[in-house]
Each structure stands twice: as C-alpha cells, then as structure tokens.
Amino acid sequence: MTPENLLYNKEHEWVNAEDNNAVIGITDYAQDALGDIVYVDLPQVGQQVKAGEAIGEIESVKSTAELHTPVSGKVVEINQQAIDSPEIVNEKPYDNGWLFKVELSNHSELDDLMKAQAYEKYTKEL
C-alpha cells in the first residue's frame, strides 16, 4: 500500500526524489483522514520554499490541513489537475494526485525522511 520508492515525513507528505528534482504529494493515510478533498492551494511556481514550512492548504468537507514541504528549494511545477479536480488527490494520492515539484537545494534533507516501512510503523502508532 505504501510505495517503497518514496520517502515520507511525519506530516504525511511523500517525496519522490530523482536527480535534482523532487515531486511531493500527500499520503494515502492523509487523504483518508481528510475525507473528500475539495480545495487544494499550492505554492507558486518559482517560489523558494524551506523544508518544514507550510506552503499551502488542503481543504476537505470536514477540515482544513496545512500543506508542508518536506524539502527546500525552488518550486518548478505544480499539478493543475489537483487544483481543478481535487478529488484526484483522494483517488490517486501517489500518482495523478501529486501536488508540486521542487528543485532541490539541499540533498541531505532527504536523509531526514522516513522510508516506507518506517512510515507505516509511524502511522500504526498514531
């Protein structure tokens, strides 16, 4: 269920890092806890973001959650489909429901993130 090729933080965001870029989204656990997602607010393309910072918002019918970036760098792309059809984040949180892409400024931040198994263990203890 939790993809092995991704890295995770405690805010339930995932990172798919390849070379200098990292794609970021929220986990299945997060979308399930939020329920029907109806609004996604993402950072601007070109914006500099810092790991741990709240850079957007995800709103579901019942609650509002901050979106953080697990890594620092420059936002190079955002997923317009997630803005236009937020239900995609509920349906496919790990692929079509990705949220934004960052050009990494500090690769070592990836070492602070959890692997799939550790993240699963973390969610089970919540």
Partner: protein, 366 residues
C-alpha cells in the same frame, strides 16, 4: 463515556467512520460525505438518527399545556399530523426547535435535537400541570431517516405503505416486516423523505431490509451538508438559548395571535423593536467557511460571526450562515470571512442556496 445507537454494530460492519456528537458515537460517513449527499439529492439515503430525543407528552390537558409553551399554533395539528415549533423561555431564548406530532387525541410525541433533549425534558416537567405526563423515550426507540426523491418508492416496497397517504408531517402507526413502526413524512435534507420510529429490533430489520434494497447508508456529515445547503438552522449553532426567533428569522413559526404562551411578550417586543442582528446565508467564491469565524464588510469592519459553515456539493462552493448586523443582512451584499491565513470572499445569499425542484420543501426540523 460515549454511547452508540442500537445500530452501532451494523454501522461498524459497514465500515463507518464515527464521530462524537452530543455524547453519542455516530457515523460521520460510510464511503464519502459528498457521495452520500449526492445519493440523497438524486436517489435516496438512509440515516440513523436515533440520537434525537423522543419525548412523549400525554394526558387530557396536553393540548392546552403544549399550546402554552410552544411558539407555533398547536391547534393546527390534527391527530395523525405534526408541526415544526420552537420552545422559548420567558425572555424569548430558544430552548429547542422540534417537531411535535399528535399521535392520538391526547398523545403527542416531541422529536428534539440531541444536545438539548434533557433541557427540553426538564423544561416540560417544570411547566406541566398535574394532568400531563412527560416521558423520555429517547433510549427506548430508534429513529431512521429515509431521504431522497426515491424514498416514496422505498416506503411502498419495504413498508407496503401508499406514499399518497402522506402529506407534509403526516404521521402513521403501521405494521410492516412483522414489527410496529411510526412513520412520518418529514426530514432535514430538503428532499422528500420519511422518518421511521421503532424499537431497536425492528430498526435492525428495517435497516437491513432497506440496505438490501440498495439504499445507501448516509452519515452525520451528509446530514449536515444537506441541511446547510438548504439553509436550515441547526440548534446549538445557529439557534441557541441566547438567540431569539426574531434574529434567527423564525418568526413565521411564532403564532403571536394564538393567545398567551411562554416567551410571547419578549418575542412580540423584539418584533416591534426589530433585531440588531440577523441570521443570514452566504456563499463563498473559493474556500470553506468554518463556524466561529468573523464576518467582515468589504471595508474591513467586523459585522458578524459564522454559526454554520461548510461545503455545498451541488454548488461546489463554500456556504454558511452567520449572525450579521441587520443593516448588512442584504442579499447580494459582498462580505469577507476570516480563515486561517486568508480572507474568503463571498456574498450574502438567499436560502435555500440550491434550487429545490419540488414545490414544497420541508421546513427546518431537528
């Protein structure tokens, strides 16, 4: 300690997500709030609303007693029917808004909101004359709400009742599926629907029969978005002991001409004087308004507070209700609502927020 309704195990088996409400552990949703909402608007949904209070009032003086404490005219209720009314204290504060059914000549049933059930029960006991009996049956009975345009068809198929025998707030005692049910044409969704009162064992068989028939179970989440989309006030949020029927916009449920009743004088004075704040509906351009947030005028002045906020799946917009200073309660007026890190733009809007196809929409109910 939270209590579940007698259908708790059935709901858990269906994978319900539960939430705490008024001391009860109730299903918030089964699959998704939006899916359940849409099912009720387009076909049918089934809610377990057994947490609502059920208070029986009986005895020969019941009519005159209820007439002396309800704001609406209880004389309008023939046996086999019901009416929406408020119960107010001497200063016009709302103790509860309820449906009062007249099951037989001197036997009435009050369906209360969950939170003020005991407040209502105590109020009735405090005010009743000797020849009236008040009994709290909340835990003895279940209440199911079958809601949506297909509900008459379900009533016919499962309960063998002719939907044509029911008009707004009709209540009938029937036997079906080997059990006794008290069925009323009522609801809190704006759709055609029925509410079904019965003992727990009968509730289980009716619940199962309706699910097998293909009805979608729906939770408290959809119940709230459905009533919000209709702009129905919810007791505890939009109406409280601190608010009066004038500012809540519920004067049409106050029969000031019927004679003396508790709160009449205060309410009458408020009507004469006019309310300084009013409950108003609003629609937001983007984002979801949440209750408790401040309402601002376009020039940035605080003009009110949100009492109900949420998302309309039909409009795909945030909608809500707020008490705003009366001069701002004008349909079309632009407003802003504070959110965590931003201000949501919107405007005051008429209620219901959506077009209801049927000529007669249910009025507010518990």
């Amino acid at each position: 300690m939270l209590k579940g309704t007698p259908l708790y195990d059935e709901e858990r088996k269906l994978g319900a997500r539960f939430t705490e409400f008024a001391g009860w552990e109730l299903p918030l949703y089964y699959s998704s709030i939006i899916e359940e909402h849409v099912a009720v608007r387009n076909s049918c949904g089934l809610f377990d609303i057994s947490h609502l209070g059920k208070i029986a009032v009986s005895g020969e003086a019941t009519f005159s007693f209820l007439q002396s404490i309800a704001t609406n005219d209880i004389a309008k209720i023939p046996p086999g029917s019901g009416e929406y009314t408020l119960f107010c204290n001497e200063s016009g504060g709302v103790i509860d808004d309820d449906i009062v059914y007249r099951l037989a000549d001197t036997s009435y049933l009050i369906i209360t909101n969950a939170v003020p059930t005991m407040a209502m029960f105590n109020w009735l006991n405090e005010k009743k004359p000797d020849k009236v009996e008040v009994e709290n049956l909340t835990d003895n009975f279940c209440l199911l709400a079958l809601q949506g345009p297909n509900s008459p068809q379900v009533l016919q198929s499962i309960f063998k009742e002719n939907p044509a025998d029911y008009s707004h707030y009709t209540v009938r005692a029937i036997t079906a599926l080997g059990s006794k049910f008290t069925v009323s044409k009522s609801g809190y969704t704006g759709e055609e629907g029925f509410e079904i009162l019965c003992e727990p064992a009968a509730a289980k068989s009716a619940w199962r029969a309706m699910l097998e028939y293909g009805i979608k179970p729906a939770g408290l989440g959809a119940r709230d978005t459905l009533r919000l989309e209709m702009g129905y006030p919810l007791y505890g949020q939009d109406i409280t002991i601190e608010t009066n029927p004038v500012e809540a916009g519920l004067v049409r449920f106050v029969a000031v001409d019927k004679g003396e009743f508790i709160g009449r004088k205060s309410i009458f004075e408020r009507i004469e004087k006019g309310a300084s704040k009013k409950l108003a509906g609003f629609i937001i351009d983007r984002g979801i308004p949440r209750s408790g947030k401040t309402v601002l005028s376009t020039s940035g002045d605080e003009i009110g507070i949100v009492t109900s906020g949420g998302y309309s799946p039909v409009l795909r917009r945030g909608v809500g209700m707020a008490y705003v200073r009366s001069e701002f309660a004008e349909v079309g007026l632009p407003i802003e609502i504070e959110a965590d890190k931003k201000q949501l733009k919107g405007h005051i809007a008429k209620r219901p927020f959506i077009d209801i196809r049927r000529p007669k929409a249910s009025s507010a109910a518990s």
